[in-house]
Symmetry: C2
Subunit: 237 residues, 2 copies
Amino acid sequence: MTSLPIRGVGEFERRGLRDRVYDLILEMLLEGDVEPGTRLSIDTLAKDLDVSPTPVREAMVQLERTGLVTREALRGYRVAPPLGEEQLAELFEARLMLEVEATRLATRRADELLPPLREALAHHARESERVVERLGRGAVPLSLTRAYFDSDLEFHRTIFRASGNRYVQEMYDSLGALTHRMRQAVIRGPRDVHEAAAEHRAIVEAFASGDPSAPERAMRSHIENVRDRAVEDVDAE
Amino acid sequence: MTSLPIRGVGEFERRGLRDRVYDLILEMLLEGDVEPGTRLSIDTLAKDLDVSPTPVREAMVQLERTGLVTREALRGYRVAPPLGEEQLAELFEARLMLEVEATRLATRRADELLPPLREALAHHARESERVVERLGRGAVPLSLTRAYFDSDLEFHRTIFRASGNRYVQEMYDSLGALTHRMRQAVIRGPRDVHEAAAEHRAIVEAFASGDPSAPERAMRSHIENVRDRAVEDVDAE
DNA sequence: CGCTCTTATTTCCTATAGGATCTTCGATAT
DNA sequence: ATATCGAAGATCCTATAGGAAATAAGAGCG
């Protein structure tokens, strides 16, 4: 039983065809260039992806959970309609609850959390600067926007991981797709980006302060600001 | 366009075979007489239920979300192992967050909430008495235990409905199966039942009091008590 | 001209079949 | 007796095919 240094043999996360199909369709939906209400024909998708309908069918069941597609029995799947005003409000309400609670729980492990959180903060700051720089010279490329939001998400996920509660984390993930799709919209201007970066910094400092209630206050303030900035977007339409 | 009194034509919730299969397997799992770790063979299930593997496969994807079954790609599904001590703690942590938040939100609509909540309370009280009566004369039949827990669940769901937040509600449902399975265990004695009923009453009175922070305090206290009673169960093993 | 009924096509839904992989059991060698 | 190897069985996974329902288009009638 010589334990060879071949780690990862058991870690090779085996993924069936269904998982790959799921990723592909999810990416397509998050890309955002499919109109809401569009029918997602199983057979057509299967042909396009060059697989049989069965794995596509399984992937769609999984996608139902994300809220990105709707299903009507015997009538097929459709791309979910965009979030209405009420749903947007409810989504932020739920997100506020989750983020504040995760932050509160993560405060117990502030020591372990701080190093990776500082790293995530630095990453987000770099992406922010790149976006701001581009904003000065016209439209921001999609790839940059994407990298920016990814770094933002990673910051928050770092906190959720430190919460030590798998259920809270799962709930956040289940809202993730909707959240992502909502903010897919646009980056309004350099002010938003700067504000977000500053608020992230404030959260890290709150964790470092040692005040046990400071982090959740900072997070609450951040999410409320994100909400307000998003609402301004909608109103501007 | 004579609107005939045939209501329900549009309300006939059409359900595919997949949905019925899902219900059947879910019920089997909640019944609790299947050992954790047991393999859930797709083909075998399909034969037992006298359907083809495809709808079974879809139902299993959906069940994965409830946490009642685990999946390993290319190796099939298994009945999920029972909740460990940590998971139990995390589950209650998450539930506490959800219930308190839902209560807080529902306070905005206390007027609409109170009538149905009083009804749910009365129902729960009746079931409590039936259980207590039986407890005096030996073991409680499964059907009674079940009816009791259903009435308990209905009380809480009434509050979640009044929260007006579909995402919070969905999160609660997604924890529902695990919660149900956990407390499936036993009813320890008449004291637990009486305490739970009294706490429910206190929650209703808190809603009726007009004090905006009273309901969430009452709910927090209730869930913490439920947790403590459940932990005593585990320790008693 | 508008409405209804019919017809055809598309699509979902389920069933059956076969290849790849994992598990289990038994045999063999050390 | 233990461990290793090999083969048979079971199971997952994917593909193909056909029936049922829904959508869309067109003909006939008021």
